[in-house]
Structure formats: C-alpha cells, structure tokens
Amino acid sequence: MKKLLTATLALGLLGAFTLPAQATPQEDLEKFQSYYYKRFPDTPKGDFINGVYSIDAASREQWESIEEFPPYELNISKGEKLFNTPFKNGKTYADCFENGGIGIAHRYPFFDTNGGEIITLELAINRCRQANGEKPLKYKKGAIADIGAYMKYTSRGETINIVIPDDPAALAAYELGKKVFFAKRGQMNMSCADCHIHNAGNLIRADKLSPGLGQPTHFPVYRSKWGGMGTLHRRYTGCNKQVRAKPYKAQSPEYRALEYYHTYMSNGLESNGPGARK
C-alpha cells in the first residue's frame, strides 16, 4: 500500500501528462488534445495546425510574411507537373487514386485491412509507380515531396479524420506508433513526448518546442535549413538524430506507425500542407 502510494505520488509529480496503461485511441485523443488546450489557453483550437507559430507570437509575424510568397510554391508546380506526366505505359498517378488524387491526400495515413498495413501518402505514390512499371522514388526529399506537396495542396481545408478500423492489427499498429512516440531513445535518452508534450512551449537553447498537436497537418514542409522540401519521415529522422538515436528507415513499420498515431492525434484539425518552416 505504501509502495503504491509512493509510486502514484511520484507519478503525480511528473507533471500534467501521464498515459493510462489501458486506454482506447479515442480516450488517448481526448487527453492529448485537452492537454494542449489547457497548456495554451490563448491559442484558438484550430490554430495548432501552424506548429510552433501557434504559440509563439514573436516569430509568427515573420513567418506570416514568408507565407505570403511561399518558398514551396515552385515545389507545388513541379509536383503538379510530375503528377500529370504519364508513365511509360501511358497511365498517370490519377489512375491510382480515388477522385483522381485530388482532395484526398488528407486521408493518409490509413490502415488497409486487406493488406494488414498502414499506407502513407508516400508509400501510395511509390506503389502506384511500381504498379505501372516505374522505379520507386526516394522517400525523404525530392520528387516524392513535390508530388506530396501538390496533392496536399489540393486537400487544404479538409478535416483530418484518421480512422482506426475495428481490427486487432490496426490497433496493434496504433499502439506501436504510440510506443515510438513515448519511448526514450538514443544516447540522450529522450522521447518525442519529452520535447513535444512535456516541454512544448519551452525553449531548447533558442528554439521554442512546438506542440505535438498539429505537427503532421502541414507536411511536407519547406525548411530553410534544408533548402528544400522534406517529408514527415525526414523530420522524424532529424529529431531522432539530434538526440543521437538511430533513426528508423523512412517508411519503416515504426515510422509509419508513428505517423499513424501522430496524425490520429490531430483528428478534427484542418489539413494545411505544404508548410514553410525555418
């Protein structure tokens, strides 16, 4: 009894966010979102899609002026051109996607109950290529990010509503993603949650840490640090590396699961990709 009491006391001291061992995705979601709403009461709920700028008035103005002449505009038009260029067999990307690929990118990632796996937008793009006898594209930057930027652009304003189907494999994939988000890893022993839940809004050196809520809504992203576009898995790779953790491969089961959990947590928010970041 005493042991139990001490344990709960210690947990209580860790701060406002603790995960119950057994919770449905819906319960996780409510807890996740309400945590940020309480932590940042001045941020309108729909504004979390703007990442760190939703909580940092100081840098917001500069970012808004960048968004007036967005650095990703060229990438959108390159993506559009690639999207509409027929494969050698005469077919196009439009033939692979629902609604010809327009206004549907926000539905990714989803769990495909037939194949028993998570399908991300980038994976779907490459599967489309391979089904048409083309070589797959590299996953973190370049053409795949441009095509993704175009497809996401046509989905702007749509509401994110990732569904976890009633299938044990889907729930297992969700749980894996959640585990990846909360696992301390690497030489520096840090988790995504350490920075983007427990310390969201705090400064790590001169960088303000963005809330985990709303992070995936605006990907792919043009980063001035990259000098170009990158996919969400490119960003995951960077965040893992900076704590000296071995990144998973882009489109590995771990990163796909992470994206599934991470995007599900942003359900109800607007899809607003592509974005611009420093």
């Binding site: 210690a10 520096m188 400064l203 001169a206």
Partner: protein, 127 residues
C-alpha cells in the same frame, strides 16, 4: 586463484598509494589552486560545448548566451547541494532522481568522461 587476485590488488593499492603520496608532496598550495582553477575552466568549456555537455540547451547558467528554459537555472549550487557528490550524481544520471527526466544521463550513457563530469561539477559548484 584468490591468492593471486589478492596480491594483485595489493600491488595496485601500493602503487596508487605511492602516487597519491607523491602527488601530495609535490603539490604546493599555489599549484593545487592552479589545478582547481583549470578544472573549473575546463568544466566550463565542456559544459557550454554543444557537442559535449550543452547544458545551455536547457539551463540558464553563468554568462551563457541564449539559454533554454527546460531545466531550472543553475544558481546557488553550493547552498543547494551541501553534498557535492549529489550534484555530481545528478549530472552523471539525472534519471536516478527523476526516472522520467529529459536531462541526458551524461555518465551512464558515456556522453562525457568521468574526468569531464568531475570538471563540470567543479564548475557548476562555483555558480
């Protein structure tokens, strides 16, 4: 077997005792002070080095520019840690006191050498 181990450890003891005495005899007070001063300087250099301690990522500290605010400011350390070993412990492995700590376990994960941690402790203790 046991006998050999014993005699080896005895030898090691003697050697280290001898060198300790030698060091004790050799170090004039002025020299000892100088050594302490360089330890503090070295500690400061390692603690601000982004590839080493990078303590400023999370702590306001001394005259360090653009500190983060994830951890508490490092001030009045002598007062707060009468037992210097406890301060060293916190740097060596912050998860001992708070299993969920975001502070990297610098010693346990071998991010810094034992000597570097000694020097940082000496430096932080002056704040």
């Amino acid at each position: 077997m046991q006998h050999t181990a014993k005699s080896i450890s005895k030898k090691v003891m003697t050697i280290s005792a001898v060198s300790a005495i030698a060091a004790f005899i050799n170090l004039s007070p002025a020299l000892a002070e100088e050594k302490a001063a360089t330890a503090v300087e070295k500690g400061k250099a390692v603690s601000v080095d982004r590839k080493k301690g990078n303590c400023l990522a999370c702590h306001a500290m001394d005259d360090g520019a653009l500190p983060g605010n994830i951890g508490p400011p490092l001030v009045s350390m002598k007062l707060r840690y009468p037992d210097k070993a406890k301060l060293r412990d916190q740097i060596w492995d912050a998860t001992k006191r708070n299993p969920n700590s975001i502070m990297p376990p610098f010693g346990r994960h071998k991010m810094l050498s034992e000597e570097e941690i000694d020097n940082i402790t000496d430096y932080i203790y002056t704040l």
